[in-house]
Symmetry: C2
């Protein structure tokens, strides 16, 4: 019997696998959770919808590759993004062998350069009304959504999707959009209050109702040290 590392070493000389990253950019708009997709500008599968992806450079950290690709396609920088997982079925891309590592990000749509989006034929789609996607990109989205739902319940993420000042109804709608379920208003507020990282401002936002809703912002320090976060 041979030693496995020898087997692998020998094999490795001829390995021909390309490494890619795909980014899942979630945005929140008008009560809906949206995902940014691009229309492929090259063959194969030209003009079909796809996640924002690109190949990794030889001297580039995987995480950096994801950020670079994101920046190239959106102008967004300094975004909180984390790896979901690698997708590596041999035939996931029927044209060539590519493994792809997915990253997910939450962005505030208004910070986003809309011109840039259009110039790349990128478009936002409501998460529950996505077009047909190439390869296993739908599976990637499902995995990222599942992860997002888990993360959002157990820690203070998702706030990236809101402007600096926001109202509680907005925040609640965000959670409802991500979790795909309705939340009781009173219970939601109670929990947030008990976690004590929101600062109530003396301003109201009247764009969404006649009465107006108080604006809040984060207490950055407390926000970063929330212990028992739980929605």
């Amino acid at each position: 019997m041979q030693k496995p590392f020898q087997i692998n070493r020998a094999y490795k000389e001829v390995q021909q696998i390309t490494v890619a990253v795909d980014c899942l950019i979630f945005g929140f708009n008008d009560g809906n959770l949206e995902l940014l997709l691009v229309s492929r500008s090259f063959e194969p599968e030209r003009d079909r919808w796809s996640l924002i992806g690109g190949f990794v450079h030889n001297d580039e950290d995987l995480d950096d590759a994801a950020h670079r690709v994101l920046t190239e396609l959106t102008g967004l920088d300094d975004v909180y993004m984390e790896q979901v997982r690698a997708f590596g079925k041999a035939k996931r891309d029927p044209y060539e062998r590519v493994i792809s590592v997915t990253y997910s990000a939450l962005v505030l749509k208004k910070d986003y350069n809309d011109e840039l989006v259009k110039s790349y034929k990128a478009e936002w789609f409501p998460i529950d009304n996505l077009p047909e996607l190439i390869f296993d990109h739908k599976e990637m989205i499902d995995a990222a959504m599942k992860r997002l739902r888990r993360r959002v319940k157990s820690g203070p993420v998702g706030f990236n999707l809101l402007p600096e000042k926001f109202t509680l109804p907005q925040l609640q709608k965000l959670y409802e959009a991500i979790l795909g379920e309705e939340i009781d208003k009173r219970n939601f507020r109670k929990k947030l209050n008990s976690m004590d990282f929101l600062i109530k401002l003396n301003e109201k936002d009247k764009t969404e109702s006649k009465k107006g809703a108080y604006l809040y912002k984060f207490d950055e320090d407390k926000y970063n040290y929330v212990k028992n976060f739980n929605i």
Copy 2:
């Protein structure tokens, strides 16, 4: 400004990144959680300890590669294994550019072919007393442990680490080893009982105490459909 996919396409032609998998094989022995490591039999870093890893074949699913590597090194087949995540720092392997996707598995040590282990210079190490490891393997272990702790609290995994018939004290020790903390005996049993997937047998195991502890086995059907698992 160029379109990113064109940039990437051009770049891709010269991409030289090797794709590997690394397996984290957890076993449970004598009250301790252990991890299987191998001593590298080739340069560079010959004779240093390492996770069980190998390179992915061109026509092989990533998951299959992990299973193959595991089988080659341990003789174990049909093991529940899942991806942790990809590690892709450019300099993680200082000798060449390799990205590695980690997988973690829980195995029952007695099913494990001990001769095979030795022939590959593999060895079990207690999780809290690991040797120095190459590259970023320590970081991989930390990530896998974190994941394992999360998984083990929220679903019925970890039972793979026990023989078909086992005692409640054994099961409790397993959880304590994984979570790294003591658990109250009565509360632990109460929870397990309420989840109702254990079958109490009419036999006792007397190897660990004079009084002897009742043996249990899983009710496979119920085990797979536990709703509110929670330790």
